[in-house]
Amino acid sequence: MADKKQGIDQTLIRDLANILNETDLTEIEVEQDDLRIRVSRAGTPQYVSAPVPAPHAVAAPVAAAAVTAPAAVRDNKNAVTAPMVGTAYLSPAPGARPFVEVGSTVQEGQTLLIIEAMKTMNQIPAPRSGKVTEILVSDAAPVEYGEPLIVIE
């Protein structure tokens, strides 16, 4: 959030990228104030400020509080990664309290989230004790093998 005024709004782009992943769309284009942003799967995201025809207008509200860290998170050694392909669930049931939140202190072995694959509910435990500093997946999102999920510092 803190980097909001430093040129491009990274949070917005991240949110769009998350929506892209969640919905399996190949491209999203939105207009906010005088800025127009297009996020596309085909290669690197493009930032377009010139008016272009908008093929998809995305009206869905931007998912709240997805990823807010300013630092690079991709190669974070402290990230717990997905041991399988499946669907991530951050709470034991829809509408229930999440297993952990940013700022939660967790004990080694505590359940961080569930990944469902082939209707098997796999509880993903904390590999060590620490503090949750980032949650990189949204609830009910598909995850790939090795994808970083939660950062514990």
């Binding site: 669930y89 049931a93 072995g109 082939m118 209707k119 098997t120 796999n122 509880q123 598909p142």
Partner: protein
């Protein structure tokens, strides 16, 4: 040999059964026992459950008259092989139920990945959960709820009970079949070419292959033709634009 070896290979002697009258959830009981050091092969059944659960925390109404059974496995296989376990379990439960049905009853069909249906009505739910314990062992619990004499409405799918189709055996006798079929399938699953044979049996008992289905994913719903499963058990859905999508989790609806 026991589950302690880490290979997970079980013999018939490793399976034990504890029958409870009432408990909250036989799946929860199995995990509790695993945390206290129980070995692979423990079955817990209950005549009634007060806190039975289905997928995504949905309650599983568990009145007396049905079978509620959970099997604990410890380190049954490396993670990458576990994907085929739900299909193996479906094949075992399908065999167990089929063996207590009258010869002229309609067939018991598997709905991907592991629901069981008679005439498109759900008669059994299977919930498999996995947890890595503090000592690093992985506990897998296979929970089966089979509608023998009661068919609680879920609102999600049409439901039925085995007695609707002429079944005259009770939960205890059905469990004896389940116990044997599950031991057989797990031995097959552990054997060198077992998974191929399990997939073949699964396809033979599956309902809806070739038909149009809708799959509800967490954030979207997609329709297409159910063309089958791949060798790891993922559902292959051919969408209207001709793409084939592989699906690891979702609720399937026949059209």
């Amino acid at each position: 040999m026991t589950g302690r070896t880490g290979t997970g290979r079980l013999t018939l002697d490793d399976f034990r059964h504890e029958a409870l009258v009432e408990t909250s959830s036989t799946n929860a009981d199995c995990f509790e026992r695993a945390r206290r050091g129980a070995l692979s092969g423990l079955w817990i059944t209950a005549a009634r459950q007060t806190g039975g659960r289905g997928r995504r925390g949905r309650p599983w109404t568990s009145e007396a008259g049905n079978l509620y059974a959970s099997l604990l496995l410890i380190d049954p296989a490396p993670m990458e092989r576990l994907g085929s376990l739900p299909l193996a379990v479906a094949v075992a439960v399908q065999s167990a139920i089929s063996s207590v049905m009258p010869i002229d009853a309609p067939p018991v069909k598997i709905k991907w990945p592991n629901d069981l249906l008679i005439e498109r009505r759900k008669i059994c739910g299977i919930l498999i959960e996995a947890e890595t314990m503090a000592d690093g062992r992985q506990a897998i619990v296979i929970g089966c709820g089979i509608n023998v004499a009661v068919a609680p409405e879920t609102g999600l799918y049409p439901v039925a009970r085995l007695t609707d189709y002429g079944c005259t055996v009770g939960p205890a006798e059905l469990f004896a079949h389940l116990f044997r079929e599950m031991a057989d399938i797990l031995r097959l699953w552990d054997s060198a070419n077992g998974i191929g044979e399990i997939m073949a049996r699964w396809r033979k008992a599956a309902g809806g292959i070739g038909e149009r289905i809708t799959v509800n994913l967490p954030t979207q719903s997609i329709s297409g033709r159910f063309v089958g499963i791949d060798d790891s058990g993922l559902l292959k859905l051919e969408t209207d634009d001709g793409d084939v999508r592989l699906i690891a989790a979702g609720d399937v609806f026949f059209e």
